[in-house]
């Protein structure tokens, strides 16, 4: 095992897949010669050349569609959409073309592409550089959505996403770039659709993904000192969702909350909460709660913290639920 940070985990994953399969190639703004705006593709252009690591103009629809076309004839393109806020331009190709091709071709033509995109707060850069928009895509049948929280998870999941035969929206939280974590030296992958119990507990289940997982763990630590044992589940993949792990946990604890940075209303937590209510209503000793982003655009600067979940809030709600 070595300890690397989140951003390096991404770079290594891309490097390994580019080496492994020459059908893999990267496209995106500044991914090539400059090694990526966040340095995530550092060194890859030099290693694999300008056709496998391609700098593109500002043309999100064009390059996402490029990935669709290339994927249709057997390549494995990885598109980088620099800020998830810009992914709105790519939705036509993702939702209407990529997501539906396998279906409408009668199962004959696959689209094995990955759209990697940087989401979430942390740069304090305001409305168009801070959003977490996963629920736009969890709503489209045919797409997979992955949202890892640790270096170990991001590397294993990115590799699996590239090898997956379906279009995958792979969300990297920019606030996690410097997070360090243990990663095996040998090759490994993590299957999509499997959640990870990051901390076991018995009194309340905290379901989360992305950066919010770390806040949840911090809260769980504090709660333990007050005699409340919280179980923290990191979903890792949103679609397909690991319902089994969620339900097993809530059946045990009888209490559940979902913590996520994206806007609470119509956010992915609403889906998780509904599933729990539908399938476990008679095992709930408290209502299912959501702790999530405020229903506002994200402001510039430090104020953004007030629009996202906090550790204090998680602790407070957990206590309310554990009367």
């Amino acid at each position: 095992m070595t300890k690397i940070n989140f951003r390096w985990a991404i770079t290594h994953a891309l490097d390994e897949e580019l080496a492994r399969d020459d059908k893999v190639f990267l496209v995106g703004q500044d991914v090539g010669e400059s090694g990526g705006v966040f340095g995530l593709t550092r060194g890859l252009y030099e290693k694999y050349g300008g056709w496998r690591v391609k700098d593109t103009p500002i043309s999100e629809e064009g390059i996402t569609g490029l990935a669709v076309g290339a994927g249709m004839i057997g390549h494995r393109p990885v598109v980088e959409i620099m800020y998830m806020d810009f992914i709105s331009l790519a939705i036509e190709q993702l939702a209407n073309q990529a997501a539906k091709t396998f279906y409408v071709s009668g199962g004959k033509i696959k689209v094995p592409m990955v759209v990697r995109t940087l989401a979430g707060g942390g740069f304090k850069a305001g409305i168009h550089h801070s959003q977490s928009l996963e629920s736009w895509f969890t709503h489209i049948p045919g797409l997979k959505v992955v949202y890892p929280s640790t270096p170990y998870d991001v590397k294993g999941l990115l590799k699996s996403s590239i090898r997956d035969d379906n279009p995958v929206v792979f969300i990297e939280h920019k606030g996690l770039f410097s997070l360090k974590g243990e990663v095996p030296e040998e090759e490994y992958t993590i299957p999509l659709g499997k959640a990870d119990i990051k901390r076991e507990g018995s009194d309340v289940t905290i379901i989360s993904y992305g950066k919010s997982v770390h806040q949840s763990l911090e809260a769980a630590e504090a709660l333990a000192k007050e005699g409340i044992s919280a179980e923290v589940i990191d979903l890792r993949t949103l679609v397909p969702l690991d319902k089994e792990t969620i339900l097993k946990s809530v059946e045990k604890t009888n209490r559940a909350m979902v913590v996520y940075e994206a806007t609470k209303e119509s956010g992915f937590g609403a889906e998780v909460s509904s599933i729990i209510s539908e399938e476990l209503i008679y095992d709930l000793d408290a209502p299912v709660r959501r702790i999530a982003g405020a229903f506002t655009p994200i402001p510039l600067g430090d104020a953004e913290d007030a629009h996202f979940p906090t550790v204090e809030e998680i602790i407070k709600v957990a206590k309310e639920m554990c009367y």
Binding site: N254, I281, Y282, D283, L284, D285, A286, E320, Y323
Partner: protein, 424 residues
């Protein structure tokens, strides 16, 4: 062409009726004039005929009450026409027009084999504020949540409250080990065994409603006494000896009492009144009703304008009404318009009672059996006389004790001077 069957207005007083029973099945073919159903008004059951020939679609429900004019069925030439028929609004039963807070019936599981007490607990628990988990545990243990207090937010009952209750219950059970925990295998309701169940509907329901309403709207009290009627007994005997063959029937005490009351009411019109909508209405007509027990319950046929009838005419009408009452062929007219009621409690062996006023009247006279009893005559000697017990219930909103007393005095006066019955 579609014909609508509506609740008809039968009798001036009729506002609504209850559907007693449908004689045909939904969708069946019917002939014009065929009896489709029976409806029940406050007074009487009616058979309703089909207005047309064709296929019938039933819209009204048995047991529900509908306004006059409500459409309760339609008859059409074909099933397709029936399907296409759009009901204009008011086939809605009266109860449902009132504000209803429906309890959505969330059945936890399909337990058709629930005993009545379990079902009752479940129904009570449903309305209690408790978490689903708490309810689930309570249900499994047969714990009545209404007996618990909750320690959850807003006082909700949570799992630990139920578990605690369970703990306490089991310790109590151990203490009461002498008591058999086994329930008998038959149906219980509130610790009593049930013999059978029937729904409260039809005439029974009508009577129930009327009686309750009467007691709730008026200030009723009853003067009870007995008076000597030896002279009346004698008088009647003579009358029948002389006239029974002429009349073809015997004059009964009922006839005589009716005549007596009609005379009194003429002289004491306040007893022939009603309080309606904050108004005291003194009736000109004197329509005397008398309680009659029939198979389906109780009816009160009315002899109209009894003050204008001779004893003979009263007797004829009385007998006719009784006969038709027993045959079940009384009309709405027979049963409406009463201003005073007599109830013969003596007919089932009673002597005194506290009869309930027949609204919207202000009094009711209950007459008991005529019994031979010891009385004291003018010579302070104990002799045998005929006495009748009576019970005059009156509405103190209008009638004061003195007026009631006057009624009773007049009654006593006629009883002592029965020939007044022929003359007045």
């Amino acid at each position: 062409m579609v014909s609508e069957l509506k609740i008809p207005k039968i009798g001036v007083e009729m506002q609504s009726a209850v559907i007693d029973e449908w004689d045909i099945v939904d969708g069946s073919q019917v002939e014009k004039g065929e009896i489709l159903l029976k409806i029940q008004t406050e007074k009487v059951t009616y058979e309703i005929e089909s207005p047309d020939t064709g296929y019938v679609k039933i819209l009204g429900k048995e047991g529900d009450e509908y306004d006059v004019g409500s459409i309760i069925a339609v008859i059409a030439e074909s099933h397709e026409q029936l399907e296409r028929y759009q009901q204009p609004n008011d086939g809605v039963p009266l109860e449902k027009k009132q504000v209803i807070n429906h309890m959505v019936n969330l059945s936890i599981e399909q337990e058709n084999t629930l005993s009545k007490s379990e079902q009752e607990i479940r129904n009570k628990n449903r309305k209690v504020k408790a978490t689903p988990l708490a309810k689930k545990i309570a249900k499994g243990q047969g714990i009545d949540l209404t007996t618990l207090s909750g320690t959850g937010p807003g006082g909700a009952i949570v799992k630990r409250d139920v578990l605690k209750a369970q703990e306490n219950a089991s310790t109590t059970k151990q203490e009461e080990s002498g008591m058999a925990a086994l329930q008998p295998r038959s149906e219980t309701e509130l610790d009593k065994l049930v013999a059978n169940r029937t729904p409260l509907k039809g005439m029974r329901k009508t009577i129930a409603t009327h009686m309750m309403s009467s007691l709730q709207t008026s200030a009723q009290l009853t003067d009870i006494n007995e008076i000597e009627v030896s002279k009346l007994v004698e008088f009647r005997k003579e009358l029948n000896e002389d006239l029974a063959s002429h009349l073809g029937f015997k004059i009964s005490f009922n006839h005589l009492f009716i005549k007596a009351v009609s005379i009194i009411l003429k002289e004491l019109p306040v007893m022939n009144s009603s309080i309606m909508d904050e108004e005291i209405i003194q009736w000109k007509s004197i329509n005397l009703g008398f309680a009659l027990s029939v198979e389906s319950g109780l009816v009160v046929p009315v002899i109209k304008n009894v003050d204008q009838l001779s004893l003979n005419e009263i007797a004829i009408q009385f007998n006719d009404l009784v006969a038709r009452g027993k045959a079940g062929t009384l009309t709405a007219d027979d049963l409406s318009g009463g201003t005073f009621t007599i109830t013969n409690i003596g007919s089932y062996g009673g002597y005194i009672s506290t009869p309930i006023i027949n609204q919207p009247q202000v009094a009711i006279l209950g007459l008991g059996q005529i019994k031979e009893k010891p009385i004291v005559n003018e010579n302070r000697e104990i002799v045998v006389g005929d006495l009748i017990g009576y019970s005059l219930t009156f509405d103190h909103r209008l009638i004061d004790g003195e007026t009631a007393g006057q009624f009773q005095n007049k009654f006593a006066h006629i009883m002592r001077n029965p020939k007044l019955l022929l003359v007045k």
